[in-house]
Subunit: 186 residues, 2 copies
DNA sequence: ACCTGAACACCGTTCAAGT
DNA sequence: ACCTGAACACCGTTCAAGT
């Protein structure tokens, strides 16, 4: 495992355990047994390191979705499965989820991160397309429908993270809301 | 205008001009001609000051929506108008928008902020209800439908802020996407 | 009650120096 | 090429002191 990879892993673990503010270069350096200056030999700055974490996570999510697409489950089950992957990730790694979808300054970096984000959303769009081909979802342009569905998912996750979802809807999970939403579409 | 109000106004202006990182207590203090320590006499800490900005903004949005509801426009136009209010706010005050809907640690503070957020979302739900009564929107429980619509709006705004909306959909604005979405519902 | 200025324990980042 | 340690210019927050 390269030093760069170990730094990214350490940053991801710090995000999980203490949130974004816990990811100081000093803490990252200490986690890999180096000085607080070591990250600068592998990343341009702190944001660049965080972007590397996001890139890894986008690729991991995309890979999970690709696996799901290759499975033999029913189209609608595949879509709900894809949503569940994202929901689970946001629950288990809230700070890293925010890095993926709530951080304009990091998204603006472009480069490999943008590429990974595109790849992930393309994979999601393919799952949506399968549902459309089977008549489970309306026949609007698949790229825009995928964006709408994903936007709704993200919006519900954010509302949930802010504690504004449960008291208002009574839903026991974001997935319950997404089921209701997909039913509205179909 | 009380010192507390001036501090909140200064913080809001700093958010607009330089984003959240520009809101240092030293900058806020200087903006009102006081020391960097003055805010502590009116707010518990930096987060508390930011929460006060969010509270003011939630109330302003709620007031605009209330005005819209009292107008004599068509139900669907009122809904689109309500969406446009939020879109405009997010474009003109991106950092303050993120404070309202993208900041779990601030939302978790509870108190007047949570109250203002509820008031705003209640107002939005009433606009949705009117559309349902007129048969423009499906007849699901209005509180959950309002949450779904708002979640989709927020998701599209976030995708737009991350630069991931236009290249994928070609929509010239988030409102275009919301029109497509509402058409899907109706 | 409200405000100031010094002080403290942090940060990210830069730079000279080492291997 | 990779890494270290000192240094710099910041932060939020605390505290003693003033009015």
């Amino acid at each position: 495992m390269s030093t760069a990879d170990r730094l990214v892993t350490a940053a991801a673990e710090l995000l999980d355990s203490g949130g974004e503010s816990a990811v100081t270069l000093r803490a990252v350096g200490a986690a890999v047994g180096m000085s607080h200056n070591a990250p600068y030999k592998h990343f341009h700055n702190r944001e660049d390191l965080l972007a590397a974490v996001a890139t890894v996570d986008f690729n991991a999510v995309a890979a999970t979705w690709a696996q799901l697409r290759a499975s033999q489950r029913e189209p609608l089950e595949r879509l709900l499965g894809a949503l569940e992957v994202m929901i689970t990730f946001s629950v288990e790694h809230p700070a890293r989820y925010r890095l993926l979808f709530n951080n304009p300054s990091i998204a603006a970096q472009g480069g490999p991160l943008t590429h990974a984000a595109h790849r992930a959303l393309d994979e999601f769009a393919l799952v949506v397309e399968t549902c459309q081909a089977e008549g489970v979802l309306p026949n609007t342009p698949s790229s825009t429908l995928a964006v709408i569905i994903f936007a709704t998912l993200h919006g519900l996750l954010d509302a949930d993270a802010s504690g504004r979802l449960r008291p208002r809807t009574g839903w026991n999970s974001v997935l319950t809301g997404m089921r209701a939403f997909i039913e509205l579409l179909g």
